[in-house]
C-alpha cells in the first residue's frame, strides 16, 4: 500500500518533470513577444510619420530618427516633437534643429536620471533642462526617490521655471517637498495654486513660497519619511 502510494507520488513528479519543458517553452514565447514588440513599435512610429504630408520633411525626420536609434537615443520623444513641429507648420530646418537640441537634452537627462529611467521620465527631464533646470536638481530628484516615477515632479519643476521663478528657488522647493514625502498629486496642486495666484497678480516667487509652505504643513515632520518612496 505504502509502496503504491510512493510510486504514485513518483509518477506525479515524473509527469510534472515532463511538462516543465512545455512551461519553459510557453514562458519563452511570452518573453519573445516582448522582443517582438520593439519592431512593432518601430512600425507604429513609421505609421505616425505618415502624418507628415511633406515628403522632404518626412524623409529628413526619418533619417534623423534612424541615426538617433543607432546612437541609442529613445526615439518616441523625437517623433512627438517632429509631429508637433508639423502641427505648427515649422520648416524642415526648424524641425531638424529642434530634434537635434532635444536629442542632446535627452542624452543629458539620461545621464542625470540614470539609465533605468523610463522614456517619459527622460523626456520630462529634457523639458526641464530646456527650461533651465539645474542639472543637480535632476540628479537629486532621483537620489531622493529612486523607486518613484518622476514624470510629474519634473513637469511641475518645468512649469515653475516657465513662470520665471529662479531655477535654484524652484528646484529647492520641489526637492524639499519630495524629501518630506509630498506626492505627485500634491505637487500638481501646488503648481495649480501658484498658477492661480500669478493670474491674480501675485509675484511667482512669492506664490511659490506661500503655497510651498502650505503643502509642507500637511506633510509629516522631516526625518520621518522613507526617502525611497513610491507613489
Amino acid at each position: 500500500m505504502r509502496l503504491n502510494r510512493r510510486r504514485g507520488v513518483l509518477r506525479t513528479l515524473a509527469g510534472i518533470c515532463a511538462m516543465v519543458p512545455v512551461g519553459v517553452f510557453a514562458g519563452g514565447v511570452v518573453g519573445a513577444l516582448g522582443v517582438v514588440s520593439a519592431p512593432a513599435s518601430l512600425a507604429a512610429q513609421e505609421t505616425r510619420l505618415l502624418l507628415i504630408s511633406d515628403d522632404g520633411t518626412r524623409d529628413a525626420v526619418r533619417r534623423f530618427l534612424d541615426a538617433a536609434r543607432v546612437r541609442g537615443t529613445p526615439t518616441e520623444p523625437l517623433v512627438s516633437r517632429a509631429l508637433e513641429g508639423v502641427a505648427f507648420r515649422a520648416t524642415p530646418k526648424e524641425i531638424e534643429r529642434a530634434l537635434a537640441a532635444l536629442e542632446k537634452r535627452l542624452k543629458k537627462s539620461r545621464e542625470l536620471l540614470g539609465a533605468n529611467s523610463t522614456v517619459d521620465e527622460l523626456a520630462a527631464g529634457a523639458d526641464a533642462l530646456a527650461h533651465g533646470a539645474p542639472e543637480s536638481a535632476l540628479r537629486d530628484m532621483r537620489r531622493i526617490a529612486p523607486g518613484r516615477r518622476l514624470t510629474v515632479e519634473l513637469g511641475v519643476l518645468t512649469e515653475l521655471l516657465a513662470k520665471d521663478i529662479a531655477p535654484k528657488t524652484a528646484a529647492t522647493m520641489v526637492l524639499r517637498l519630495m524629501a518630506r514625502g509630498a506626492s505627485g498629486t500634491q505637487l500638481t496642486e501646488l503648481n495649480a495654486a501658484v498658477q492661480k495666484d500669478v493670474a491674480l497678480g501675485v509675484k511667482p516667487v512669492s506664490a511659490l513660497e506661500l503655497r510651498g509652505r502650505g503643502v509642507m504643513s500637511l506633510l509629516p515632520p522631516a526625518g520621518s519619511v522613507v526617502t525611497a518612496q513610491k507613489r
Binding site: 516543465v20 512551461g23 505648427f88 520630462a124 527650461h131 510629474v152 513637469g155 500638481t188 496642486e189
Partner: protein, 196 residues
C-alpha cells in the same frame, strides 16, 4: 441439506465468475510484456513511459498537474533568464525599459477639455498625448451654441496641446498656462496631469 449445499456452491461460483478489477493500462502492459518476450527487450525510456501511462488521473487532476507544470516552467525560465536588457539582434540596439511595479504613475488618465468658440464649425484637440494627430480627438458640442468638449487620455505628467479650429487655425487653451516652447512659433498650452 442438498439444497443448502447447491446454494452455497452457486454463490461461490458467482463470486468466481466475476473477473477481478484491473487498472486501466495494466492489461496493455501485460500484453506488451508478453510480446516483449518474443521481441527485443524494451529500452529504459519505453519502460518509463509505460510506468507513467499506468497511472489513471481524473480530468481535474490532469488540469492541476498541467497548471503546476506551467507555473514551474515560467518560474524556472524567469530564474534562468538573464537580467540584461533585451537587445534586438539585427539593426540598432533597442533597450526595453524595465517597468517599475504597480504603475498608477504610468497609467493614462481621462482628461476633459473644454473650448468655447461659438462661431467655429469644427474643433479638434492635438497634443503630445495623441501624437499631434488632428483626426484623433475631435471635439463635440451640445447643440449649436454650447462649448466644444472632448475627453483625451494622457499619462500623468506635463503635456503640451492646442485646439485646431476649422482644420487650419491652432489656438491655445485660454483656460490653461501657455507653453513656452523654444522650438516652434505658435500658441500652445500646457497641462499637468496628476496620477489617478
Amino acid at each position: 441439506m442438498n439444497d443448502e449445499r447447491d446454494e452455497m456452491i452457486e454463490r461461490a461460483a458467482r463470486v468466481l465468475r466475476t473477473p477481478p478489477q484491473v487498472r486501466s493500462g495494466t492489461v496493455a502492459r501485460v500484453l506488451m510484456a508478453v510480446r516483449a518476450r518474443h521481441a527485443r527487450p524494451a529500452s529504459r525510456w519505453q519502460r518509463a513511459l509505460w510506468w507513467v501511462a499506468d497511472t489513471s488521473i481524473s480530468a481535474r487532476g490532469a488540469a492541476v498537474l498541467a497548471a503546476a507544470s506551467l507555473a514551474i516552467g515560467f518560474v524556472a525560465r524567469g530564474t534562468v533568464a538573464t537580467s540584461e536588457p533585451i537587445v534586438v539582434a539585427s539593426g540598432p540596439s533597442i533597450e526595453l525599459q524595465p517597468v517599475a511595479d504597480g504603475d498608477a504613475a504610468e497609467r493614462p488618465v481621462p482628461v476633459a477639455l473644454v473650448f468655447e468658440q461659438a462661431n467655429a464649425r469644427d474643433v479638434a484637440v492635438v497634443g503630445d498625448f495623441n501624437g499631434w494627430d488632428r483626426a484623433a480627438s475631435p471635439m463635440v458640442r451640445a447643440g449649436t451654441e454650447g462649448p466644444w468638449t472632448a475627453t483625451v487620455l494622457a499619462k500623468p505628467g506635463r503635456h503640451t496641446y492646442a485646439f485646431i479650429v476649422d482644420g487650419t487655425t491652432l489656438v491655445a487653451d485660454p483656460n490653461a498656462a501657455k507653453a513656452t516652447s523654444n522650438d516652434f512659433r505658435g500658441d500652445a498650452s500646457v497641462m499637468i496631469v496628476r496620477p489617478d
